[in-house]
Amino acid sequence: MEEMLEPNEMIIHLGPQHPMQPGPFRLNLKLKGETVMDAEVELGYIHKGIEKILENKTYLQGITIVDRICYLVALTNEECYVGCVEKLLDIEPPERAQYIRVILEELTRLQSHLLGTGEFGGFIGFVSMLMYTIKEREDLLSLIDMVTGARITHSFLRFGGVRDDLPPGFKEKTLPVLNNLKKVINDFEEMFHSDRVYKERTVGVGVLTADVAKSLGVSGPALRATGVPFDIRKNEPYLVYNDLDFKVCTETAGDCFARVQVRLNEMRESIYIIEQCLDQIPNGPIFPENSLYGRRTPVMRVPAGEVFHRVEDPRGEMGMYMVSDGSDKPYRVKVRGPVYPTLQALPPLIKGTTVADIAAISGSMDGCTSEADR
């Protein structure tokens, strides 16, 4: 990219430290005036080597490590890992544990979408939006804190169940929070629809069509905003999603406005799912009876085999490929995060737009460098 610079062009690095980024990565831009002619993404600033670390830790120790792939959606990462191991062990958690997992993961989805919407507002200059969403997010984090004991990295799921039961009074504390959140989402939607400046910044910006999105490998709200109803919770249901009634939210425009709208609708669906779970949750054990792999068993051997398990992360489709050779540590764990193809799709999306649009586009795609770098 450095060769053949015309007289009007310059190369600028939206470098590793930048107020706009959701994590350190370098974006090399070739600008002509304000228009982007070429772009390139360089990763690797926070590469921790998680896949190599997981090969040297037992399966139980791996739960705390998998938490930290992306600390904002820790429970979904844990679900993917624990689901892989449960498939290898061929056990299934009891119903109450599955309902608890679904409740916590939908709460995680709610707070991740809130933060994503708020950050997007912050990127286009609407700083008050960031403050409002963070304020709402505090209630959700207190709820998760009440169950798991931590606000971000939880280490709550175990093979075959969860670590602890729901505390007494959880339902009474959750329902007012969810009702308040419904009003807040309506407020946000009205704010977005009636704000002329916001619409000028987001409608028609960063348009993805369905074919382009499929060939770029994008998944999650960015794909659903182009009209493709691809949701792992419906395609290959895991846990109790088969018994729950919810719909896949899609829009057709494919621009930044549609992506934010899809997130707001998904938040409403998540609230509905949590309410159903709180109604339908049965009483029962949170670990299978006579299970060898109880929560107090630190050393356990997993039979040899390989498995590929997918879950629906708030940002898209998350998958883990695990190879086991019969010992107490995994042989190979490959983490396929949802943000990796999203970041890869950024250069084709921003070619031809202005510098100001980069902020809007990358904010609406909701990236997280920690997950891409692992």
Binding site: H47, G217, Y321, Y340
Partner: protein
């Protein structure tokens, strides 16, 4: 599409390239593919069997059998089957054809596999290290006999 139909159609079209095709469950299937024919198999999957979503490309090091393996997970936006294709490569000179012309998002996956395992992807548009710093090229950290960089203090405990 049923998983048995998919496997039958695949083994029917490529009798020599595909071996050991098994269906693990209703939505998971696995097959070993010859390393010369990977690109054609992927093209056939994308065109005829509606497998238009590449989940990931990764490498596994089987040091006991002196082999490296490249594992492709290919899924679809229309049906829930995920097909796992595995290609065996010799450990001293691992080279395989790149599938970037078929699936655009294989670009970064192959770059990462190259810098972590040393598997060269022929005809890749831009085979440079992605995550590791430039001076770690040649170390192949995720192999089982990796000893540490720059001091050889790491050992694989398994």
């Amino acid at each position: 599409m049923d998983v048995t139909e998919i496997l039958k159609s695949l083994t029917g079209t490529f009798p020599e390239a595909i071996s050991e095709a098994t269906a693990k469950s209703e939505i998971r299937a696995r097959a070993y593919v010859d390393k010369e024919k990977v690109k054609e198999v992927c093209q056939y999957l994308k065109d005829s069997l509606q497998f238009d979503h590449l989940c990931s490309v990764c490498g596994v090091d089987y040091i006991k059998w002196n082999e490296l393996e490249v594992v492709y997970h290919i899924a679809s936006y229309n049906h829930p089957v995920v097909l796992t294709l595995k290609a065996r490569l010799p450990r001293d000179n691992p080279e395989i054809e790149s599938v970037v012309p078929v699936y655009w998002n294989a670009n970064w996956y192959e770059r990462e596999t190259y810098e972590l395992y040393g598997i060269k992807f022929k005809n890749h548009p831009n085979l440079k290290p992605l995550l590791l710093p430039e001076d770690m090229l040649g170390e192949w950290p995720l192999r089982k006999d990796y000893e540490g960089f720059p001091n050889k203090t790491a050992r694989n405990l398994v």
